[in-house]
Amino acid sequence: MERTEITNVLTAIFRKILAKDTLILSDNLTANDVENWDSLTHMLLISEIETEFSIKFKLKDLNKMRNVGDMIETIISKL
């Protein structure tokens, strides 16, 4: 899967879980930039991403994800 394709899928997931129809993902985006993106919604995002891409994150992976860019790289490494 191409990086842009992954970004598109992620965008849909983020918009749905965080209830923000116009959210644009960028590599530097962090939880601090988006209202609602907290421990709870993060957990929901992770489980949705795991289902959508048929992957399973380790806690170590989650800990390394400091922004959306890291998240995309981690997904690529799992595919």
């Binding site: 962090t30 939880a31 601090n32 930039d33 907290d38 421990s39 709870l40 993060h42 957990m43 929901l44 380790k58 806690l59 170590k60 989650l62 800990n63 390394k64 994800m65 400091r66």
Partner: protein, 496 residues
Amino acid sequence: MFSKFIINPIFEAITNFSSNNAFCINEQFYSYEQFAQYISKIRTAIQSVHLKNTNISLVVNDDIETYASIFAIWLEGFAYVPLHPQQPVERSLEIISQAEIELVLDSSLKTAFTDISVIETTSLCFESLNLDPKMVSDETLAYILFTSGSTGKPKGVMISRKNAGAFMKSFGETGFQITENDRCLQCFDLTFDVSVQSYLVPLTKGACTYTIPHDQIKYSYVYGLLEDHQLTFGAMAPSMIRYLRPYFDEINIPSMRYSILTAEASPVDLINEWANCIPNAEIFDFYGPTEATIYCTYHKYIRKGNNKQLNGMLSIGKAMPGLKAIIIDDERKSLDVNQKGELCISGDQVTPGYWKNTEKNKESFFEMEIDGIANRFYKTGDSCYFDTDGDIMLAGRLDYQVKIQGYRIELGEIEYHAREFLTGQNAVAVAFNNQMGNTEIALFVEGILNNEPELLVHLNSKMPFYMIPTKIMAGNLFPINTSGKVDRIKLKNQLT
């Protein structure tokens, strides 16, 4: 008290361990020497402002300036009133107005406060050390924490220097051996008082405090700190540990020496599993309302042993040294063992009261003579009883005690039976008023529920009909409030 147990030990740490790390914030270390410089520059700036009121607001960004500001404020003999940068400005302004604040310390890039004096602490430059403490009475306030009030307006809990000093003295006497070599977790918001334990205990010993940046997801960042920096001591809320539970098989932190569970009741089944992740740690449950300064009772968890529990929650043990715990009935009569009533606490840790709130102060404190000595007690609002060993069993909040069709019900009991059936899934019972104005019970189950009919059969087999939830809500994860507890108000709002 405050000098002896807080200020002096921190000076000793600054003197004796000046090159030790005091903080690790966002992967950056700050030595005790640097910390002293940050405190000095902020203190000098505070001294340049003429203040009539002794309360100073602090925007708690959890950076080095934030922590240094606390001590700069204390050295000047003032009290800090934390404002969370992520809470609505309107709420902050309400607190500023109530506490009669004239000065805000803010390390934000751009401060949100315009109509009040603000010291932007990141723009200050260090010139010279300025650490001689002003001598003020122990009755002076150390901090005021505003919590949600039932009237909709936040209410301020005043904690005096005596209260804070008494807490540090008592905590020291419970036997924790923290040294300058320890690495300690501080994962609580500075608007919540467990944060005070989390930074004071390391700083008074020359140890290093590890914090969580606001832009990071708390549970995974905490795990990163535990693992990467091999932390040795930390207080955590059970709700956060529950977030880590799906990953317990990956977690192994042999460095952990002491693990404190606090902020809410500790489920024994969760601790049993958590204990395997921290094989060398001694595990404690600490209980305490903000009004009795951080913690007031504690209980040690026994590995592979029989742990006292009520409704699946660990006993909160006995009062800490220097504190008295009693359980009273509605007529303020002290109760015997195994009789359930309201837990009340007295001692030097008990707050002088709520900030300018006569009504609430009348309601929450009372005097009682015990063995010829007058004691001032704080009513915790928690429903408890003493077992035959004198250990306190926590049944839940008195506000979680609801009356349905005349029956008095503990929501904790319903939750216990639901969790027992759900094995590992969390469940929270909430009372709500239906359209008729009658009280009903809703049960929230965290995550997906495939077997609702079986759950109901189970509940019906354990409890009388009037305790069976009339509504079951499942599918989502539970919201957590800023204190790290399950947010029951948000859950309840989902019902309307």
